[in-house]
């Protein structure tokens, strides 16, 4: 994997408090995708996960499912998304990851999809229903050919042995799911599986970790950052987009509730 990948560059530069944000492409309005990315970078996001909406997102909770439904109604599709992202690298420098389910990627054509990702400047992919064994047998060669990191998940139930296996197959970082849940479950800092975070930290993995699921505010963000290189906010941000303010006000307002100005 080339060190030119922006994900590796980010983790070389910054080992703590990495602020990563997920949002659903085409939500709340079809053409909000690009300005949302630009505004997130301007407001201090280190990494962005762009959600490709799917009709049946089983790993997601109600907020992201609802945003996906709206985005699809707005006319969002993978084809449309690539059109929107065509010139994104003229204005955005931070790493960009596409996150979505495997079926729309299959229908687009896996190689065509990977190629297009490389063309527009995508650095990695998170596909929750593409399990490790299928990835290794059918997808890895293509992901690598087009310089894309595959970001795999681990959960409190993942055995040490499997975490090692996932670490070996990963490049970029590992997505550490905070608790047994779908996205958007409200965590209190006290709900954190500290023993799980500590167990993972003692495994001396080669890949850095970001913690996601249930990170919604400064308290949960700061707490997650104690145990990993940073944290990912999804549902709480998507929820904040549903307000009658300008996109800029919504985004800068939300970011201030989580991190101090850069």
């Amino acid at each position: 994997m080339s060190t030119q990948n922006r994900i590796n560059q980010l983790f070389e530069k910054k080992q703590n408090n990495i602020f990563s944000v997920y949002f659903t492409a085409g939500y709340p309005d079809l053409n909000d995708t690009v300005p949302t990315i630009q505004l997130l970078e301007q407001n201090g996001a280190d990494l962005i996960e762009i959600g490709m909406p799917f009709s049946d997102p089983v790993a997601d909770g109600p907020v992201i499912q609802q945003s996906s439904t709206v985005a699809l109604k707005n006319g969002m599709s993978i084809k449309k998304l690539f059109e929107q992202l065509e010139n994104i690298r003229e204005s955005v420098n931070i790493p960009l990851i596409l996150m979505g389910y495997v079926n729309p990627v299959m229908q687009y054509g896996v190689e065509a999809f990977c190629q297009k990702c490389q063309e527009v400047g995508i650095d990695g992919l998170i596909i929750p229903d593409l399990p490790l064994n299928v990835y290794q047998e059918e997808y890895q060669t293509l992901f690598e050919k087009y310089g894309l990191h595959n970001i795999l998940l681990i959960t409190p139930q993942t055995s040490d042995e499997r975490i090692q296996e996932i670490d070996n197959a990963s490049s970029g970082f590992i997505y550490m799911v905070s608790s047994s849940s779908t996205t958007g479950i409200k965590n209190k800092a006290s709900d954190f599986h500290v023993d799980y975070f500590e167990r993972v930290n003692q495994l001396s993995l080669k890949n850095p970790r970001l913690i996601g699921f249930g990170i919604s505010n400064r308290e949960t963000f700061d707490n997650a950052c104690k145990y990993a290189a940073g944290a990912i906010i999804g549902s709480a941000f998507v929820k904040a987009l549903d307000q009658k303010l300008t996109l800029e006000e919504r985004i800068s307002g939300f970011v201030k509730t989580v991190v101090s100005p850069a």
Binding site: V58, P62, L153, T158, S180
Partner: protein, 393 residues
């Protein structure tokens, strides 16, 4: 053994386990243990005893004389409609509840469309004293109120799924989410031959009792263990998988599945997945499904809630692709006609799902010497309102 699942959980190119990592421990446990558990002596004993004394098996194989006369060919009905809870669904829920107990699980979740699988699950949970949560599309909760009340009386909690179109697909999504949130003590009883490996094979094994009995019963009736053909309706495909199973390797037996065409395969209101779908991944397995060019799942339609599903079990996708089985479709109107025909010729009111299999009689050539077995997967009590509104009695 061309039609058995392989070690990785595939039938040809179909099947597998496209699961999020959150489901990995549970699915891995099932994959590693299901064969061992269901082949163990204790499990076999309990399963066979419950099917006999609790479900009422073997279900009769009945020569439908007046129906046969009308079509000029012998037609046998496998009477799964006479099972406890009114359909074949209970064969699977008995098997899975015993498996869940063997794995030390304390809590059961299930999805349901029309409520037949939900009732069959709530029933075995009452029998075993297990906590039961059933997810059902909010729209189906309204449409199938009597089954909702039955499940509640049986002690189950029925949770309406309010996402999507609020039908079977959405109930399945919610059940999967529940399993993700409750990874330790919960077993998910999937109602059909769909979902990640090992579910398609496991549910097939539990339903295979249907064709096992057909073989023995045919021997009694005609002195031969196999018919000319077997016909069954297909939504996810569990009753068809069970009715086909012991005939798969005997290529002399013609296997016919019948999908729900709804208002017609040339309309958007249909559920004929194999006729109209293409390859994709839904609910963790690679199979045929109804989807847009962008890979979004298309909402299906059928008069029968039990066949109202945009996917199909991977075994059927494989049998279709290899031409081992033939898949036809029947429209709502053809199904209503077939249901009325059976009711008035034989005094048996079939479930709307099963009436799809009956509707195939008009679509195939029947020779006088043929022996046709139709799997009558369920009874029509739950569909009385639909029948009455169409026939105007």
């Amino acid at each position: 053994m061309k039609y058995q699942v392989d070690k990785k959980g595939y039938y040809g190119e179909f099947g597998g386990a496209f699961i999020p990592e959150m489901m990995h421990p549970n699915i891995e446990e099932l994959q590693q243990k299901y064969m061992e558990v269901i082949n163990s002596y204790n499990f076999r004993q309990d399963f066979i005893q419950l099917l006999k004394h609790y479900v009422g098996r073997p279900s009769p194989l009945y020569l439908a004389k007046r129906l046969s006369e009308k079509y000029g060919s012998d037609i046998y009905l496998k009477r799964e409609d006479l099972n406890h809870t009114g359909s074949h669904k209970v064969n699977n829920t008995i098997g899975q509840i015993l498996l869940a107990k063997a794995l030390g699980k304390k809590r059961i979740i299930a999805e349901t469309g029309a409520g037949q699988h939900g009732v069959a699950t709530a029933t075995v949970c009452a029998l075993m004293g297990m906590k039961c949560v059933v997810y059902m599309g909010a729209l189906d909760v309204e449409r199938q109120a009597p089954n909702v009340k039955k499940m509640r009386m049986l002690g189950a909690e029925v949770i309406p799924a309010v996402s999507g179109n609020q039908t079977l697909k959405d109930a399945t999504n919610e059940a999967m989410r529940d399993w993700i949130r409750n990874p330790v003590d919960t077993h998910y009883i999937i109602g059909s031959v769909v979902g990640p490996h090992p579910y398609p094979d496991m549910v097939t094994q539990f339903q295979a009792v249907i064709s096992e009995e057909i073989k023995m019963q045919l021997d009694e009736h005609i002195g031969r263990e196999y018919p000319t053909r077997v016909i069954a309706c297909v939504g996810g495909g569990s009753n068809a998988a069970g009715a086909f199973y012991h005939f798969l390797e005997n290529e002399e037996v013609e296997l016919i599945g019948v999908e729900a065409a709804g208002k017609g395969v040339d309309t958007s209101e249909t559920a004929a997945t194999l006729t109209l779908g293409n390859v994709g991944v839904l609910h963790s397995s690679r199979s045929m499904l109804m989807q847009t060019d962008d890979g979004q799942i298309v909402e299906p339609y059928s008069i029968s809630a039990g066949l109202d599903y945009p996917g199909i079990g991977p075994l059927h996708a494989h049998l279709c692709k290899t031409h081992r089985a033939k898949y036809l479709w029947a429209t709502d109107q053809e199904v209503l006609d077939a249901a009325l025909e059976l009711t008035q010729l034989e005094g048996i009111i079939p479930a709307l799902e099963s009436a799809h299999a009956l509707a195939a009689l008009k679509k195939i050539e029947l020779k006088p010497t043929d022996v046709t077995v139709i799997n009558l997967s369920g009874r029509g009590d739950k569909d009385m309102e639909t029948y009455l509104s169409h026939f105007g009695y």
